[in-house]
């Protein structure tokens, strides 16, 4: 084995094909796209070198800035809500529903496996204002309120998207965090209980510090997933009303493929990549201390 791994030809034969495929489907498009950021044009009218003009345009474009604002707001709000909800559920699974929690776990996890478009359709019907009145509006009207046009108002649309995503993803985070919490040795919990730590005190002083590594993974997983949101928004509001719920991903798609600005679309993509990178580094840095010491 040792001899084989010191043979560069063997390494080439074993890794070469995989590396070739990876290079052609991942690295080449990434560099290609990075190169486009310095060009203007598309496949029909050709390309023209414009230097940093696309980057300057990005920072002066009100729609791009709105998309950055929406993306960050969406990522922060959704990450906080879905990880908190997931953590709450994980604690529930571990301490309250220790036996017989399988059914609850299955039911809560169920939305995760549903197709996004189906969930979006469900929520658009739930919050429908016209032509038919959906269950939510029916309830509001029953209580004496007005028929609310949820998808016609920017703020209302935002919260419907958030609600849908929390419902859809909390089951996943619950399972992920549950896996971290069950790893905490029972003896530790028992000894903490004997020392008088119960309820919130037990969670804050024992469970939370010991499950911090998996919580951190969940946060990074969530923030990166939410920064790159595309399908839920397209399926539920298509970025509307106006461009008020348009994230950077959708804006990138529109500029590149609907408006035929490949260079500018690539610039938006690069900006999103940088944003993801900065956020991930920020989270890593802020939790650099020894996690096991709480």
């Amino acid at each position: 084995m040792q001899r084989m791994l010191s043979d560069w030809r063997a390494i080439l034969v074993l890794l070469g094909p995989a590396f070739l495929v990876y290079t052609s489907v991942m690295l080449v498009p990434i560099f290609w796209s990075a190169g486009y950021t310095f060009f203007e044009g598309n496949a029909i009218r050709g390309f023209e070198f414009v230097g940093f003009a696309n980057f300057i345009e990005f920072f002066q474009d009100p729609t791009a800035m709105q998309a950055v604002g929406f993306t960050i707001r969406y990522a922060i709000v959704l990450t906080l809500l879905q990880v908190t909800a997931g953590y709450g559920l994980a604690l529930l699974y571990t301490f309250v529903l220790k036996r017989g929690g399988a059914l609850t776990r299955t039911l809560v996890f169920f939305p995760v496996i549903l197709p996004t478009v189906a969930v979006a359709l469900l929520f658009s019907r739930l919050f429908e204002a016209a032509p038919a009145t959906g269950p939510v509006n029916s309830l509001i009207i029953l209580l004496g309120g007005p028929n609310v046009d949820w998808f016609g108002q920017p703020d209302a649309s935002f919260w419907v998207i958030i609600l849908m995503d929390v419902w859809r993803s909390m089951g996943f985070y619950a399972v992920l965090l549950y896996a971290g919490i069950v790893e905490i040795p029972d003896e530790l919990i028992e000894s903490a209980r004997l020392d008088g730590a119960n309820g919130w005190r037990l969670v804050r002083s024992v469970v939370l510090p010991l499950s911090l590594p998996v919580l951190l993974s969940a946060l990074i997983f969530s923030i990166n997933g939410t920064l790159k949101v595309f399908d839920t928004v397209v399926a539920l509001t298509n970025g509307g009303p106006g461009t008020s719920t348009t994230p950077l991903t959708v804006y990138m798609f529109r500029t590149a493929f609907s408006f035929g600005q490949y260079g500018y679309g690539s610039t938006v993509a690069l900006m999103l990549t940088i944003l993801c990178l900065v956020v991930t580094v920020f989270i890593f840095r802020s939790t650099r201390r020894d996690l096991t010491k709480g």
Binding site: F31, A34, N42, A43, R45, A130, D149, T243, S258
Partner: protein, 443 residues
């Protein structure tokens, strides 16, 4: 510090290589994708197939061509047999761009929905100059002049680059019964329309039906208000950079519509209404005025859909604005989605098809599908609805036509306008905000 410098020293060549390869790759793509101009010589021998790309939502074009293939176009079909491929039209422009980029456009097909995209195609030499070819074939007189001028104006060209497979006028259609019940005469001016809307609202009738979710039925109102208040060249001036949408006289037009929106004239959920829902609302008596194109005649004449009765629908040209430079006689017109011949597929077979389409399309589309086109009609149907006759009469009487709000805008400005149009109808956007967004996108 020393470690950092050493790191930088190691990183620099890597960054340089990555940067250089990115430039090389992007540069290569530019030159590789650029040479898509095809052979535009009519002498090229037919490849035996006449490929057509159409939208699944539009069955008239494919249906008419299939009818022609068994009739006037039989000879052309023998030379190049018709092969229709229909795809979803929701992302039509995107699909056309991808096909054009890969030199994979069909011989014939529906043009881009955004005029600016079609202009790109024309400039890139992807589309056949039909003025020259129709002249060669001796059938140039088969295109109705009004339709020809509309297409030329649409693409800003002196030559014809697309065929008018539709010719539509737009305006307010109204429910005669609802107006009569409220004691309202069809309004002739914008102020009268506003008064009528207030009266209807007080009587518990929704004054306007509009697909706020789609946006364009609302932005058409802004455009038409501008044509009436500032004249037919109002939006061309914006496209040419001589005026800005944020100028007060332009903002006034958007404000006029936004005011209707904040009064609730479009209903309490205008932002959620799509095209089909709006059509259904009007045809079931849920609204008094409906701004729409004459392509809706098919729905109006269908008794299954139309529960208020075709005789109960009246047509009202977009009203005049008091003291405005435009005239209510200038009818908003469009050619729907016109059709184009591509240079890459142009050959003897395509030329034969062009000749027989120019000769027979108008008759076949009108008789088989009730579609008014921009082709000369020789044999009109013996019986047709009063509404269809009204539309034909309005087209014949119009001294001139105007396009629509976004016709001269970039694809980006068109998208921004139409996605934000609903905000005017729901009252969530002011005229100023709307115009600022569109102007910023139009550069």
């Amino acid at each position: 510090m020393t470690t950092a410098t050493r790191h930088m020293g190691r990183l620099l060549p890597v960054v340089a290589i990555v940067g250089a390869s990115a430039f090389v790759l992007a540069g290569c793509s530019g030159s590789a994708d650029n040479g898509t101009t095809g052979d535009d010589s009519a002498a090229a021998k037919s490849d035996g197939e006449f490929s057509v790309l159409s939208q699944t939502q539009n069955t008239v074009i494919a249906g008419t061509l299939e009818a022609l293939a068994g009739d006037q176009c039989e000879t052309a079909d023998e030379t190049a047999s018709l092969k229709v491929d229909s795809v979803d039209g929701t992302t039509w422009d995107q699909q056309l761009q991808v096909l054009a980029g890969n030199n994979a456009l069909s011989d014939f097909g529906m043009a881009g929905g955004t005029p600016a995209l079609m202009q790109e195609f024309i400039e890139a030499g992807l589309v056949v100059d039909l003025s020259a070819e129709l002249d060669k074939l001796g059938v140039a007189d088969r295109i109705v002049p009004a339709a020809e001028s509309t297409i030329k104006a649409l693409y800003g060209q002196d030559a014809l680059y697309a065929l008018p497979t539709e010719l539509n006028i737009e305006g307010f259609w109204y429910n005669k019964q609802l107006l009569e019940d409220a004691g309202i005469e069809p309004p002739a001016t914008w102020d009268e329309l506003a008064d009528a809307a207030a009266t209807l609202q007080d009587a518990g009738v929704q004054p306007f039906v509009a697909a706020g979710k789609d946006g364009w039925p609302v932005t058409r109102l802004v455009g038409n208000y501008l044509f009436r208040s500032l004249g037919a060249d109002a939006l061309q001036k914006v496209a040419d950079g001589e005026a800005s949408l944020t100028d007060p006289e332009y903002v006034a037009a958007a404000d006029a519509i936004a005011e209707f929106g904040s009064e609730g004239y479009f209903g309490d959920a205008a932002g959620s209404i799509d095209y089909n829902t709006a059509m259904n609302q009007f045809l079931t008596g849920d609204g008094a005025f409906f701004y729409m194109g004459s392509w809706a005649l098919g729905n109006f004449n269908d008794s299954e859909q139309n529960k208020i009765g075709a005789d109960n629908i009246g047509f009202l040209p977009f009203p005049a604005v008091e003291g405005g430079a435009g005239s209510a006689d200038e009818v908003p017109a469009n050619v729907g989605i016109p059709t184009m011949f591509t240079t890459s597929g142009w050959d003897e077979g395509s030329a034969q098809w062009l000749e027989c389409i120019a000769t027979g399309y108008g008759d076949t589309a009108l008789n088989e599908f009730g579609q008014v086109t921009g082709f000369v009609v020789d044999n009109p149907p013996a019986e047709q609805s009063e509404l269809t006759t009204t539309v034909q009469q309005v087209i014949a009487d119009a001294p001139g036509s105007v396009l629509w709000f976004e016709a001269a805008f970039s694809p980006e400005a068109t998208s921004v306008s139409q996605t934000n149009g609903g905000g005017l109808a729901t009252g969530t956007l002011s005229g100023q905000e709307f115009m600022e967004l569109v102007q910023a996108a139009n550069g």
